[in-house]
């Protein structure tokens, strides 16, 4: 248990800092967005698991040789049948920290979920009063506003894609199709769940480099994934023109310019850069073998801390 806790602590540190820094600077994720997404999820999960696991294992060292025997000893203390003296103050502190961190992560996830849902519901209520359903496109609402905007509002069966009058005037039918395909991919692939999890991760541990880098990378990756799906049905120049028109169209609006100043710090400018360099570049997709290696690495990363915690006696 002693060496398990130190190994998990080392893993937690590696996953909290050097690994995410390297991964966020790497160029290959844009060429294999799905595999990169799996890897980011694995880094976040394995990181959290090793952080909590390290403190738990170290805290339980005086109580038993393995995690089950240690937890059994802890149960004895909690129920009052054994004395707290066996644990010692430092180990008790580590156990409390593990419990608090777990509670903090779960609570933040839950809180973020409710905050996001409340904002969506409020937005949807107002949206339904102000927009009219599109006649020829199911699940699409048209908002009477001159700014060219397109976005999707997830919400299970009530998910909608919203287009503004300004956008419909600005884009040709093919460009519009590219925009719709892009937005519908976000909804179909449930990208909002990924954004929710990584937004919660970031607000739970804002001082951790990994949470910030992970959220920014994931935001870029989902845009690239949505673009990739759109490109199966429309050609590249059409999609790039649509992006350029919508971006420069909303750029000219005074209201948007005012907000853009505040948005710059939160809205990641790297997202658009990553999308454009992927669309304008010629780098081919990563080979299937390389993608499989990334996914295998991600699974291994998750398996190591899990095995250390669950299977007794791997490390003394």
């Amino acid at each position: 248990m002693f060496w398990t806790s130190w190994f998990l602590a080392a893993l937690a540190v590696i996953l909290a800092w050097p690994v995410p820094v390297f991964l966020s600077r790497a160029a290959w994720p844009a060429r294999a967005p799905f595999a990169a997404m799996v890897l980011w999820q694995s880094i976040a999960l394995a990181g959290g698991l090793s952080m909590i696991g390290a403190m738990l294992c170290w805290g339980l060292v005086p109580l038993g040789e393995t995690l089950p025997s240690g937890l059994h000893g802890l149960l004895g203390i909690v129920l009052g049948s054994e004395s707290l003296d066996a644990l010692g103050i430092l180990h008790a502190f580590a156990l409390s920290a593990a419990a608090l961190l777990t509670a903090h992560l779960v609570f933040t996830l839950w809180l973020t979920y409710f905050r996001i849902n409340r904002q969506r519901r409020k937005h949807r209520d107002l949206l339904h009063l102000l927009s009219s359903p599109s006649h020829d496109r199911p699940g699409t609402l048209v908002l009477n506003h001159q700014a060219p905007v397109a976005y999707c509002l997830p919400g299970g069966s009530r998910s909608v894609t919203v287009l503004s009058d300004g956008l419909l005037e600005l884009l040709s039918p093919d460009e519009l199709r590219a925009v719709l395909l892009h937005e519908q991919t976000h909804l179909a692939q449930r990208h909002h769940l990924l954004l929710w999890a990584f937004a919660a991760w970031r607000s739970a541990l804002p001082w951790l480099p990994t949470s910030k880098l992970a959220q920014e990378s994931v935001s870029s990756l989902i845009e690239i994934m949505a673009d990739d799906v759109a490109l199966r049905s429309v050609d590249k120049p059409t999609l790039v023109t649509a992006i350029a028109l919508v971006a420069s169209g909303s750029d000219q609006l005074p209201a948007d310019a005012i907000i853009a100043g505040q948005a710059a710090q939160i809205d990641t400018p790297t997202t658009t850069s990553a999308r454009l360099s992927k669309l304008l570049g010629t780098a081919p997709a990563l080979s299937l073998f390389a993608k499989l290696c990334v996914v295998a690495a991600a699974l291994l990363l998750l398996a190591v801390p899990t095995a250390l915690l669950v299977v007794p006696g791997i490390l003394p």
């Binding site: 969506r120 009063l129 506003h145 976005y151 997830p154 607000s203």
Partner: protein, 124 residues
């Protein structure tokens, strides 16, 4: 006018058109007029239904009630344009969780990115 949601929209449309506050009875008449233009066989609307819709809208903070007169008169709290502006602020704005709440086709672009995009469009 099938659902409560559709009725809410119709009621708000009327309240936004009318500058002064109006009673539920008046609203019912106006709604029935519109319904009979759209569809001659529409069922007549009950005032209680209109009142239900109005109290829902009041709870959402969209409608306010003048209690000084009887029957109560209702009016929209803010104009349609202001609500649209509020909605657009949410779409374009910078609330921390905005990305998780809704996904825009293209987010805010930096000056350098805007220049690249303009070049792509053939402008200098």
């Amino acid at each position: 006018m099938a659902t409560l949601g559709d009725l809410e929209r119709a009621v708000m449309d009327l309240l936004w058109e009318h500058q002064e506050a109006i009673t539920a009875n008046n609203l019912r008449d106006l709604l029935s007029q519109r319904a009979s233009i759209d569809n001659a066989e529409a069922r007549p609307l009950a005032v209680t239904t209109v009142l239900t819709v109005l109290s829902r809208l009041e709870k959402k903070g969209l409608v306010e009630r003048e209690r000084s007169s009887r029957p109560h008169r209702y009016r929209a709290v803010t104009s349609r344009e202001e609500h649209t502006a509020e909605l657009m602020m949410e779409v374009l704005g910078s609330a921390p969780d905005r990305e998780a709440v809704l996904a825009r086709f293209i987010g805010t672009v930096s000056a350098g990115e805007a220049q690249t995009l303009r070049k792509l469009l053939g402008h200098s």
